[in-house]
Every structure is written in structure tokens, then in C-alpha cells.
Amino acid sequence: MEIVGQNPNIISARDIGLVACTRCAKVWPAGTQTCARCGSRIVSRDTKSLQRVWALWLVGLMCYVPANLYPMLQTRTLLNVQEDTIVGGAIQLVHHGAVGIAIIILVASVVIPLGKFMAIAFLAISVKRVSAVSKHQRQRLYEVVEYIGRWSMIDIFVVAIMSSLVQLNTLAAINPGRASLFFALSVIFTMLSAQAFDSRMIWDLQSKSEGPPADD
């Protein structure tokens, strides 16, 4: 399998009448309902996977809208109360000269979530349609999406740590804004959406388009 990445003629387990347990990776003959080893249910392809992907993706996107409209952080000092949205805060940081931090925040809170939405949508669409992107690249993309998804929570961590540390009564206090909840929800739902994607489907459609593989 170490040469799989370079071989265009990839044979999936389904093609050779096998099905693998997604939990313990034991390969069974096609049609086996339950893994005899770990007892988990075995399906060759999860037919409802895409529905779950799209449903969760939609919720994540819905949450992402208020996450950007509402203030993420409420900074209350002696003199005034300042509420900043994610983008607004980043712009302010740029004004204050902290360009690097602004970039980090923008990447973690805007670029990555938006990229995730697009990547998941792309993957979900590409299993039904012919795509110019190769299966390997899409598999790589899926792995990156799954891996990077959790890092979007860095914004939430920052808000959580800041608001727990900076509580100086009347002098200054930082409280999480309403957007933090929506942002967290958005991240959670996109991660769930990514997990719901059955990455085996990446290989199916292309297999069909490339013609039935030769029987052994």
C-alpha cells in the first residue's frame, strides 16, 4: 500500500468484494453485517454520510454568521466598554501595530473556518461528480481538514483564558461576547461535519469514471 499514492489504478475493497471494519480494520467478505471481532456494524458505504455532512455543515455555517456579527470579546475598563467582533478586533490590532497577532487571529478565525466550509463542501460535491482534483489530493485535503479543524478552537481558548484571567472588578474585565458561543458551535459542527464524511466515497466515483477495474 506504500505505493498507493502514486498508483492511479487503485482497487478499493468494495471492488474485490470485501468490506473492512472501520473500527478494527478487519476485512470481511462483502455483505457481512457485523464485525465478528469487535462487534461493530459494518457497511461498505455509508449512504447517509453525505446527508449528515451537509446537515452539520449547514448548521456550522448558520452559526458562523452570528459568530462574525456579534462581538467576540467584551473589554470593560474603568472608562468604557469595548466590544469587538472577530474581524473588528483584528483590524484594531492592525491599527495598534500588532500585525502578526492580527494575522494569526484572522487565519485561525476566518481563513481556516471558511476554508473548512469550502473544503467540506468541495469534498461532498466531488464524490458525486467528476472532479479535476485527484483522489489522492482529495484524500489529503480531507485529512488536513480533519486535522486542522480543532485548531479553530484557539480563538475560543484565547477568549476563555482572557476572560478568566482579566477580572479586576471595576478596573478592567474581559468577558466573552455572544459570538464566542456561536463560533464554538460553528467549529464543533464543522468538525462533526468533517467526521461525518465517509472518505471511502472519494474513491468510488472516480473508479466509475475511470472505468471498471480489471478483475483479478
Binding site: 447517509k48 446527508q51 446537515a55 452539520l56 449547514l58 448548521v59 472608562l79
Partner: protein, 694 residues
């Protein structure tokens, strides 16, 4: 061979919708439902938008400035715009739905800003949080309204605030501090709002509120007065400065008191007058409230300075009005000549006259008209001796000439005048000042200066300084005389004389010249008579001496020198006087007749003469004794003279040497005098001894 089983028709069972569609779609559906619900709820909870017009922005920020009611946020400024003509700032305020119905046409709004006043700091919280808009409305739902005009400052009567609402107006012409606290016993019990000037402009009126818990303090007999600023008085107990509180010192304030207890509580909208100070407020209590004044006029024949506007007009010592204006008037028709007269316009307060029935200017005019018919006249009188201010007094003048009194529409009635009474006190004071002015103070001072100069010159005079030396020289002379050999030789001479006298007697006895002796005695008697006559001059001399001495003792310093000199000369004269010399000569002549041996008597010098005198006295027997009865007195007087001289000299003691010398001399003189006294006594006791030599 196994038979291939017949193909089983595989019937693809169409799965139900439920099994085909994942349950996961419930999540976005639920999310959508929640979102829609929240959106609907937010929309539903939104109150109406009202517009409040402000003169300026005053720190109103969109989405930040709150609208508060009783210090609770009930709205938020959503937008701040300008009015169409840029004439004002319009704040669009989103109201909370709950209070929106109450925000009706009667609502007021104002901006609360930090304020530093004499009463303290208010709105301090807005320094940190920014300004906010305070709204005030009642709890009754009224006609709806969406556009309001904000008040410039917080209204005095806030809706919902309980208290007694009053109107305070100044006395005509008085002043008032508005926007200030109303204090009672130093406690703020209310506030005066912004004052406005009445339409006629003769008084100011302001709304005031007495907080509800204090509203029972107000009754119809309550009087308000100003406590602004401070009073400074100098009295028997020292200087006093009074002010009620720092706040009123700077910002002014009002206070009140109810001088008469009881009285019904007043209702909202009652009008009270504000007096200038407590005495006038207190005084007003017993007068009917001041009504419109009666204008009258007085024309004085001469234009006299000192009558000023606001000078009092008094009737029997009671102030009933004041001078409103003073002007000159020339009215040839009315007065018959073109002289300038003093025309004073008086405003008389009918309330002060104490009219019983109706207190109106008309009633006051009727009253005064009747009194003028009876002889009421106006005159100028001194109001103050120091300032020379004048007042107008209305006095009853008996047998006053009748004066016309014109009344009617448009005529200011003239009060007839009588002789003014202003010159007396002023003239007296002026006279006193004139007399003080006329005192020859300069001459007096010049004399004093001259006198002091003379005294100085006299004291530093060379003659005066030399006086002690002269005196010492004189005393030295006197001592020289007293201690001279001649005087000391007196006893020796006396003894010798007695011895010779005895020899003479022995010769007489031996010669038995009785007849001659008798004749001699007769001659001696005659001589003694002459001696007596001559001695009679001695008392006069002595008295003269005494007078001289008295003069010397009584002499002031400036005559001391001359008197001392005179005394010295007198003493010299006494010692060298012709009479004194003559006396011994006479005695000697008498003795010469008795005894030729006495011819040896020394001649020249007063002492030798005295010696001779004594010698002849020895012969003079009873006559001599009689004559010598004056001697002790003489000696006494001489001694007294010298005592006085001693006292004088002691008083003039300038140096110890002089003093010692003088004392020594005086002692010597005293001794001599004593010796003479004892001699005289001896002669007095036993004149015969002199003759007999024992």
C-alpha cells in the same frame, strides 16, 4: 449437477423517507427554528423609536448613551442625526417596550452631565460612563408622541417627585437668587428653580419645590428671605461675620420661617414673596401684603442737596414710603417765578399706613387728603447727622396756612410743605467744628516751642551754670565772716570789757560819783530809747528779709538766679547796711557817754560794731534788755532765712562739694546764731549781769 436456482426477482424495496433521510437534518432544522424564534422575539421586544431634539450633542454617542428613567436604563440611543436645518441634534432612542406607552406628550428629557456646583458634585458617575439622557414622565398613559424637545437642564418638578410646588416672587424692586437651595435651619428642604422676569419687569418669579416631608413647614404666614452672601457687623461684642453656609455664601440661597404658629397648610401653586433679609421678612408679617403704591409729590422751595432716591418718607416716625425720584422743577405758572424747585416724587405704601378697611392707593389718598386739610405738611429733615442725608417727614403743623390739594386723573397730588428742619443739627455740628477749627493751635504750638527753646537756652546759659560757683563763693564769704577772728574775739573782748567795766565800777564806787552815775544812767536810758527806736527798724528789715526768703523759696527756676543774686545782695546789704552799722554806732555813742574806756571799741566791720553794741548794751541795762527782747526773734528769723536758703540750696544741689560747703557754712551760721541766742537769753534773764559783769 446442481440446478441453478431460478433467479429471484430482486424487488428493490423503496425505502421509506424516514429511512432514506438522515435524522441529522433535525439539527439544522432546529437551529433554524431557534434562530427564527430569537429573531422574532428580538423584533417583538423592540420598543418604538422616539426622537429627542437637543441643542447640542453634549456627549451623546450612538449605541452607547442610555435613556434612563429613575436611573434605570429604559432605552438606548440608536442614532444621532441633525435636524433638517442643522438647528439641533436629534437623538433617536429605542425605548424599552415596557415603558413606551408611558412616554407620552407630557414627558421631558434632559442630558445628565457631571456638574460641579456650590452644592457639590452631581452626575459624577457620568464622568466614567459618559452622559446619559434622563427622562421623566408620569404613570398615566397619555397621547402618544414620538418627537420631543429636550430641556436645557433638569426640571425642578420631576414627574413622580412628591413635594409642595410653590411660586416665589421678589418684592417689587427686590432681587432673588434662582437655582438655589431652600434651607430651613441649615437643612435643604427644597429648591428654587429658574427665575423669570415678570412681564412688567418689576419682579422676578421662580418656581420652587418644598420636598414632601417638609411641606408641612409651609403655612400662609411663612415668609421667605434671602440668605445669600454674608453680613458683617461691628458691635459691642466685637466684629461679627455671619453667613448661613458656604453654599449660600457662594451660590446664594433662600430660607424661610413661620413666625406665627398655626395656619393651614398651603396648596400647590401658592405664591410667596422673597424678602431681602430676615428683619424685613419678619416686619412684613404684620403688614398687609404690599400693594400698589400711591404716588405723591412734594415741591420744596429751595433745591437742597442731600435728598436722594430711596430716602424714607416718614409719618410720625414710621416709614410709609420712599422717595422715588428727585428732580428740579421750574413752573412759572404754578409757583409764580422761575426759580428751580426741588420736586420729589414719593411712592407711599398704603399698607404701611395701617388703614383698616381697604388697603388701596385710593383709600390712602383719601386718608392723606383729609390729614392735609387738618394741617399735615411735608418737610425735609435730617436723616443722618454723619452723612447729611435727608428724609421727608410728614408732620402735623398747627395753624398751617390752608393749601390747595389737587387730586384727579393724571394728577400727581402735591403735599404742601412747611419749613424744613435740617439746619439745626448740621449747624451745631458745623459750629463745633468751626470752633475747633478756630482754636489757635498753631500759635499755641509756636509758644510752646519758643518756651521750650527759651528753657533750653536758659538751662544751658553760662550764667546759670556759674550760679553754683557764685553761691559757693558767697557761702565762703559768709563763712569767712563767721569764722573771722573778729567774731571769735567777741568773748575775749567781752571779757576784757567786763573787766574794764568792773574797774570802772570800782573807780565809780571809789570816786562815789553817784550823781554822775545817775546822770549817766539817765543818759543811758535816753540812749536806750534811741536804741529802741533804731532797733525798731530791725523787725522791718527782718520781715523784708523774710519776704526775700519767701520769694526765694517760691521762685521758679527761671528767676532763681536773679533771686539768689538778689538774696546775696540783700544779705550783703544787710551785713553792710548803714542801719546795721548805725545801730552799733548809736549804741557805741550811748556807751561812750557812760564810759570812755569803751572808746577802745573797734571800728569798721559789722562784727566789731556788734561787739561794740554788746558792750554798750551792757551799759544799757533794762532799756537794753527791753530792746533785746526782739533779738531772739530776729535770730530766729535769720536762722529761718538761712534754713530756707539751705533748703533752696539743697534743692539746687548740683554737686557734693557745693552742698558740703553750703552745709558747713550754714552750720557755722547756725552756731553763730545759737551763740547769739544764748547771749540774748542771758541778757534777757539777767540784764543786770551784763552791767555787773557776772
Amino acid at each position: 449437477m446442481t440446478e441453478t436456482p431460478p433467479p429471484v426477482a430482486i424487488e428493490t424495496v423503496r425505502k421509506s423517507l424516514l429511512s432514506r433521510v438522515s435524522m441529522v437534518w433535525a439539527i439544522p432544522f432546529l437551529a433554524l427554528v431557534i434562530a427564527l424564534f430569537v429573531a422574532w422575539q428580538a423584533f417583538d421586544a423592540r420598543g418604538p423609536l422616539i426622537e429627542i431634539e437637543f441643542a447640542n450633542g453634549a456627549g451623546i454617542a450612538k449605541r452607547q448613551t442610555e435613556l434612563r428613567y429613575r436611573d434605570v436604563s429604559v432605552g438606548l440611543v440608536e442614532d444621532v442625526t441633525f435636524s433638517d436645518d442643522l438647528g439641533s441634534v436629534v437623538a433617536h432612542v429605542r425605548l424599552d417596550k415596557g415603558v413606551a406607552p408611558y412616554v407620552d406628550a407630557a414627558s421631558t428629557f434632559w442630558v445628565v452631565q457631571p456638574e460641579l456646583t456650590t452644592r457639590g458634585i452631581s452626575g459624577l458617575d457620568t464622568v466614567l460612563s459618559g452622559v446619559y439622557i434622563q427622562g421623566s414622565w408620569d404613570s398615566i398613559i397619555g397621547p402618544e408622541r414620538t418627537r420631543f424637545k429636550a430641556a436645557d437642564e433638569a426640571p425642578l418638578f420631576k414627574s413622580g417627585q412628591k413635594g409642595l410646588q410653590l411660586a416665589l416672587r421678589t418684592t417689587p424692586g427686590g432681587t432673588m437668587t434662582d437655582n438655589s437651595p431652600i434651607l430651613f435651619r441649615g437643612i435643604e428642604v427644597g429648591r428654587v428653580g429658574k427665575a423669570r422676569i415678570s412681564q412688567q419687569g418689576n419682579f422676578a418669579i421662580a418656581e420652587a419645590i418644598i420636598y414632601e416631608e417638609y411641606s408641612r413647614l409651609i403655612s400662609p404666614s411663612t415668609r421667605f428671605w434671602e440668605t445669600s452672601g454674608f453680613t458683617f457687623s461691628v458691635g459691642p461684642s466685637g466684629a461679627e461675620i455671619n453667613f448661613s453656609s458656604f453654599a449660600t455664601l457662594v451660590g446664594g440661597g433662600l430660607t424661610f420661617d413661620t413666625f406665627v404658629s398655626g395656619g393651614d397648610p398651603v396648596d400647590d401653586g401658592a405664591v410667596f414673596e422673597v424678602f431681602a433679609d430676615e428683619p424685613s421678612a419678619r416686619g412684613s408679617l404684620f403688614n398687609a401684603s404690599e400693594v400698589e403704591t400711591l404716588e405723591m409729590r412734594v415741591v420744596f422751595d429751595s433745591n437742597i442737596a442731600g435728598l436722594a432716591v430711596d430716602a424714607p418718607v416718614e409719618l410720625s416716625g414710621l416709614k410709609i414710603g420712599k422717595v422715588q425720584s428727585v428732580s428740579g422743577v421750574i413752573d412759572a405758572d404754578a409757583f409764580g417765578d422761575n426759580r428751580v424747585r426741588l420736586n420729589a416724587l414719593l411712592s407711599i405704601q398704603p399698607a404701611r399706613l395701617g388703614l383698616q378697611d381697604e388697603v388701596t392707593p385710593e383709600a390712602a389718598l383719601r386718608f392723606l387728603a383729609a390729614r392735609i386739610q387738618e394741617g399735615l405738611r411735608a418737610r425735609l429733615a435730617s436723616a443722618s447727622l454723619l452723612t447729611g442725608g435727608l428724609k421727608i417727614e410728614l408732620v402735623q403743623v398747627d395753624d398751617a396756612p390752608p393749601a390747595p390739594f389737587l387730586t384727579g386723573e393724571g394728577i400727581v397730588p402735591i403735599i404742601p410743605t412747611t419749613k424744613s428742619e435740617i439746619s439745626d443739627a448740621a449747624a451745631t455740628v458745623e459750629g463745633v467744628f468751626n470752633r475747633i477749627n478756630n482754636l489757635p493751635i498753631e500759635e499755641l504750638l509756636n509758644s510752646a516751642i519758643e518756651f521750650l527753646n527759651s528753657a533750653e537756652a536758659f538751662v544751658s546759659d553760662k550764667d546759670l551754670r556759674e550760679t553754683p560757683q557764685d553761691l559757693r563763693a558767697l557761702l565762703g564769704d559768709v563763712r569767712g565772716i563767721v569764722t573771722s577772728q573778729d567774731v571769735q574775739n567777741i568773748p575775749v573782748t567781752l571779757n576784757a570789757a567786763i573787766g574794764r567795766f568792773e574797774t570802772l565800777l570800782a573807780q565809780l564806787e571809789k570816786d562815789q560819783l553817784a550823781t554822775r552815775l545817775a546822770a549817766a544812767v539817765d543818759a543811758a536810758a535816753d540812749a536806750a530809747k534811741g536804741v529802741t527806736a533804731s532797733v525798731e527798724g530791725v523787725p522791718a528789715l527782718v520781715s523784708e528779709l523774710e519776704a526775700v526768703a519767701a520769694k526765694a523759696s517760691a521762685l521758679p527756676l527761671d528767676e532763681l538766679t536773679t533771686q539768689l543774686t538778689a538774696l546775696t545782695t540783700s544779705a550783703d546789704a544787710i551785713l553792710g547796711t548803714e542801719a546795721a552799722r548805725q545801730l552799733p554806732a548809736d549804741l557805741g555813742a550811748a556807751l561812750n557817754e557812760i564810759n570812755a574806756t569803751l572808746a577802745e571799741l573797734r571800728q569798721g566791720g559789722a562784727v566789731t560794731n556788734i561787739n561794740a553794741t554788746l558792750e554798750s548794751t551792757r551799759q544799757a541795762a533794762d532799756a537794753v534788755a527791753t530792746s533785746t527782747q526782739d533779738l531772739p526773734a530776729l535770730v530766729d528769723r535769720i536762722r529761718r532765712v538761712f534754713d530756707q536758703a539751705s533748703a533752696t540750696i539743697a534743692g539746687y544741689n548740683k554737686g557734693e562739694t557745693l552742698s558740703r560747703d553750703a552745709q558747713a557754712a550754714l552750720r557755722d551760721i547756725s552756731k553763730a546764731a545759737n551763740a547769739m541766742t544764748s547771749l540774748a537769753r542771758m541778757l534777757e534773764r539777767n540784764p543786770g549781769a551784763l552791767i555787773r559783769g557776772r
